[in-house]
């Protein structure tokens, strides 16, 4: 009996310890972690504190997302509807947040981080930061208009700094009707929430030939004048038979130089270039151009679909060399690749935040150009650029030619399982001193030179119509 008593006391002591730990844990949640939980935007207690959330502006100070108490139910107003979605994102009481509203949340939301101890205990609230994007509203509006109601995407960036100037994506959604249409939007097979310019995965088609050409020139296996034979059908033997690489539309280019292969978008020539470069080098350059990793960009959520090294059999390699095969890339990846040729071989890190300003007006962050990758030398970049100029002057990209300004570009018509080819165009201008880089993709839009290049041309015309848009 006494033994039982003794063990009963032991058990009570155990429970005392458990309750003590529990009390400490409650303290930890309720005081130490309190600030973190309290400032979370999903917290319904915060909807009345929406006035503490920072504003998102364009680069020239046009407000894109403002907090207003009278806006029901989320307290967030988007004055420039149907232009900045879907990347600007949404903020919903029911469904949380997305896009930049989500990615920038840690800056926009109010904080209870206080250096003053009394303020800390009282959990004094500090207003969130205002964020200025690198987006140029004039270009953004133009890009959305030029794309129109065609599924696809437009990226406009400054190749010298990596600043994103416009991102158009169609289809999109209306942030005001989000709560009402949520079910419809999330089940829509056209994925209106997908930020196509950044997270769309497309076979790149012929725009990828820029990569193959640049890698071959850099590696010294090809010069711009190396000649390739194109009979319109290139047969490759492999373990299951013979694989044929054919030209689009059954063309045959005869003997072509490497530059002319690009100018006329010759698949057979590029298949041979890829094989000449070899699997190992090909994969090495893919890494150098950033195709084997997620770009260092806050909106990026999709990995580039670059085939693994051991998948690159000779037939695969030959296909990937001209942008087909098991290869999918985002328009942003294409833009970054193109920027290497505009920027003397260097790729700058893509940026979308121009600056962040805190409650007291102090600039807490200012973007600075930062080199992300240096895949090729300046000489190689120049050679590729010159070839790109030829593409626009006399090749597949003549639809983007401008009278006074030299444009460097490349078209693409990517075969895909969903029907018509995807129309691609990537370009920058002025070719000698690039100020603007544009990538256009129109899903199932047909030929890149026919469908995508005119969109780029429209945007180039607008960009150069009033010089000095860029500050």
């Amino acid at each position: 009996m006494n033994k039982i008593r003794e063990y009963t006391k032991k058990l009570f002591r155990l429970y005392m310890i458990l309750f003590f730990i529990l009390g400490m844990y409650i303290g930890y949640i309720q005081v130490a972690k309190s600030g973190e939980f309290m400032s979370n935007t999903d917290n319904p207690r915060n909807y009345e504190k929406m006035n503490l959330r920072g504003t998102i502006f364009t680069r020239d100070g046009k407000p894109l997302a403002i907090s207003r108490d009278e806006v029901k139910p989320s307290g967030r107003a988007f004055p420039e509807k149907n232009i900045y979605e879907p990347y600007l994102g949404y903020l919903s009481v029911k469904f949380g947040k997305g896009g930049l509203e989500d990615k920038l949340d840690k800056f926009l939301r109010f904080s209870t981080k206080n250096t003053d101890f009394i303020d800390y205990l009282m959990r004094k609230e500090t207003k969130g930061e205002n964020v200025y994007l690198t987006i140029d509203p004039r270009l953004q509006q133009a890009a959305v208009k030029a794309l129109g109601e065609r599924k696809g995407a437009v990226v406009m960036m400054n190749p010298r700094t990596g600043e994103i100037l416009a991102l158009a994506s169609y289809p999109s959604f209306d942030p005001d009707k989000l709560d009402k249409d949520w079910k419809k939007l999330t089940s829509d097979k056209d994925s209106p929430f997908l930020i196509r310019p950044v997270n769309g995965s497309y076979p790149p088609g012929s725009v990828f030939k820029l990569f193959t050409l640049a890698s071959c020139i850099e590696e010294g296996v090809v010069t711009p004048d190396t000649v390739f034979d194109c009979s319109g059908d290139y047969a490759m033997d492999y373990e299951l038979g013979t694989y044929h690489i054919r030209e689009a539309g059954g063309a045959a280019h005869g003997s072509v130089t490497a530059v002319d292969a690009l100018v006329h978008s010759c698949n057979v020539g590029f298949a041979q270039m890829g094989l000449k470069l070899g699997k190992n080098k090909f994969y090495e350059y893919a890494g150098k151009f950033g195709f084997t990793e997620k770009p260092d960009f806050m909106l990026c959520e999709t990995e580039p679909g670059f085939p693994a090294k051991d998948v690159l059999t000779p037939t695969q390699l030959a296909q990937v060399a001209f942008g087909q095969g098991e290869l999918t890339l985002s328009p942003l990846s294409i833009a970054l690749m193109t920027s290497a040729f505009a920027n003397g071989g260097k790729i700058c890190k893509p940026q979308i935040i121009k600056s962040r300003v805190d409650e007291k007006g102090k600039v807490v962050y200012k973007c600075e150009a930062e080199v992300w990758k240096t895949p090729v030398s300046m000489e190689t970049a120049k050679k590729v650029r010159d070839a790109m100029i030829q593409v626009v002057e006399r090749g597949t990209g003549t639809a983007a030619r401008m009278d006074t300004i030299k444009v460097a570009g490349k078209t693409g018509s990517a075969e895909n399982p969903f029907g018509e080819t995807h129309a691609w165009f990537t370009c920058f201008a002025p070719a000698e001193d690039p100020k603007i880089l544009i990538v256009v993709i129109v899903e199932n839009g047909g030929g890149g030179g026919k469908t995508a290049a005119p969109v780029a041309k429209e945007l180039l015309d607008l960009y150069f119509s009033k010089p000095g848009t860029q500050k």
Partner: protein, 433 residues
Amino acid sequence: MKSDKKTAGTSMFPVYHKGRPDERMLLAVITMIFLLAIYIIHRSNLEFGKFDPTITGFIILASFWAIHFFLIFRKEKGDELFLPLAAFLSILGWIIVFRLRPQLASKQMIWILAGEAVFLLWICFVKDYRVLEDFKYLFLVGAVSLQAAVAIFGKEVNGAKLWFDFGVFSFQPVEFVKIFLTVFLAAYLKQNREILDKPINRDSIGLLMRYIIPLLVLWGAAQMVLVLQKDLGMALLLFGTFLGLFYASTRKTGFTALGIALSVGGAFLLYRFFPHMRVRINTWLDPWATAQDSGYQIVQALYAIANGGLTGAGLGMGEPSSIPAIYTDYIFAAILEELGLWGGIVILGLFLVLIQRMFKSSVCSKDEFSAFLALGLGLMFATQVFVIIAGTVKMIPLTGITLPFISYGGSSIVANFLMLAIMFQISSGCRNQ
């Protein structure tokens, strides 16, 4: 709890005070706290609809005073802390329910009055709770058949059949099953303790097995039923009670460790093979990943708790209504939001005092059945309080059990008062010198 020292004293068998002065003083303090709380709630901007149920709170308060005088009249010698602690916790529960769902306050009053009636009836008509020992198999059969019956005939809520629906009210038999099983375990352990007590050697091991195996089978069966009914909280609770009783009666740490090891293994198997368990564990590990879905409840509770901070938002000033099951399983989140860390710790402390009184009653009782019964009930109560509060603050995975005396719900409150009556009698046995 000033008077705690006086009653508890240092002696094993506290002196009996005529007129139950400690009880009276504590009830007076509770009356003041109650009046203050009512005043505060009426000052806040809550709306009560057509009927202001404040009066039902006064009825509850008066009923506790009535019981107090009744106990004096009957010269009951039970521990003087049980009634005031139960009164404080159930009045607090009523206040929170009143504040969260005013339309449920009157119903909560009815449950509390029903619980008090059970308490009084038990004290008046069960002269000696030790008769329970003679009916131990009846309790076993009763527990198993109740549980089986609800699994078959019960009403399905959230994919689990735990309730009998009688139209006017519903009844959750598991609240009583756990008491029945504790009574059975206490009696069984008392009967067979000599065997369990022997040192383990070649001769005794067979005998020992003969007694342990039925126990294990019973326990396994109970757990299986609960697992099949997806009532993880109750499984955890019975596990704690069983293991604690087993530990105190056999004093074999090895067996106890084995029991824990088996249960951890079992939990792992559950995790592997039962998707709803996996969801629950993953939700616990990272509720933010599913903040709109399975993690919604816990995330909302964390927001509420964080909003409370050190001092609380104040009664009626928080916004805990967004949390599902806030007035039943999750009521402690509302308490933490409105009364803050201080309030939470005080209530945790009061629960600990009540638990201490239960363990104390076990320690000071003179026969083994009483000791085991009090210990079993104490272990169960303590485990329940710990499991639900720790689940509410995301220290352990969430399980759907009630917070004793505080949560809204008839079965839980009545069962807790029944347990209180038994404990009250055991504690009065301590003083029959």
